[in-house]
Amino acid sequence: SCSWSEFFSFYHTLDEIYSWMDYLVARHPNLVSKIQIGESYEKRPLYVLKFSTGKSRYRAIWIDTGIHSREWITQATGVWIANKIATEYGKNASLTALLDCMDIFLEIVANPDGFAYTHSHDRLWRKTRSINPGSLCVGVDPNRNWGVGFGGLGASSNPCSQTYHGPCPFSENETKAIANFILGHGNVAAVISIHSYSQVLMYPYSYTSQPAPDRQELDALAKEAVEALTAVHGTRYKYGNVFSTIYPAAGVTIDWTYDIGVKYSYTFELRDTGCYGFLLPATQIIPTAEETWPALMKIMEHARDHPY
């Protein structure tokens, strides 16, 4: 009895999202499939939706949402985006052209243990749920756990810190599974890692003030994407490299993907609009997703049109 616009305008639990993913696959069997890329520390499956029109291995775009579990707007936006991709294929000429030559992989809940924990114990939990030997504090920041600049600026060696980098690079199942998948695929042309709430679109680097070799192109594309985003609801975004735009941060997703050769490596910080932080009311899910979509499309179209 629930219309889909209503469904997308609420926050959902992990079980609800996973069930909905099965529904999406069933509705669009020729376009969408669900693959498991690993399991979390607490043995939950790490699911990725694959949007593909081809049998061969196309160039691919990777998108993940919700690696920081308390940023609920990102998982909710991930659900909306998955639906958008599935329902716009064959209607939206640009997306159709994209899916006719590229695959999109979307991991809606990149940190399922943390996400389940935000629903059951602590709404403001950010990290993974792995036990840290010798410490009472639980969890690792999965966006400081990647194998680039590991342990450097903006990452903490204190297991009780929100930015604890973990005992070694890729100590967390959740990050290792993504890294293995991207490396194993071998043809990922763009990575977009979606967070919230500072309203910025950023590219490498985070761990060093050195400019990325492709800085000019990445910056121009970020500008275009942000303009497309702002045109929808007037939401103001900044853009630039992570190091100068917000803060130095070592061991983050997009620095690793960039350094292994994924040129179009971007990270979004979606809304807040200055009032709610991680506690964005559900009424803002659809506007947030709606404005994110054209920005995502700009990046995906650019990756499609500029093979390297």
Binding site: E6, F10, R123, L124, G154, T163, G277
Partner: protein, 96 residues
């Protein structure tokens, strides 16, 4: 489930390097159990900090005595969470 009754989120405005250093110092005080929603690093960027109710007075006094400007972004975290829960319950009814 963990409750956040009376916890506030303060938006701290850093316009001097020494403010950033002080905020880092404050972050180290584990007794206060502060939850920094961003990293204190750049001048001019607002910094949001969730302050548990029992630490509010101390933190506000610290900020004021060091002339660090702030506003209260969220008056009561639990109120927002209660509203969020109500919305999810409404969603479940609709789904059924």
């Amino acid at each position: 489930q963990k409750r956040f009754v009376g916890d506030q989120v303060l938006r701290v405005l850093t316009d001097k390097e020494e403010h950033i250093a002080l905020l880092r110092e404050l972050e180290e005080s584990e007794d206060l159990q502060l939850d920094y929603w961003d990293v204190p690093s750049k001048l001019g960027l607002p910094l949001d900090v969730r302050v548990p109710s029992q630490s509010l007075q101390l933190v506000k006094t610290f900020l004021e005595s060091n002339s660090i400007p702030y506003t209260t972004m969220i008056e009561d975290v639990q109120k927002l969470l209660d509203e969020e829960k109500r919305a999810m319950r409404r969603a479940r009814k609709l789904k059924r």
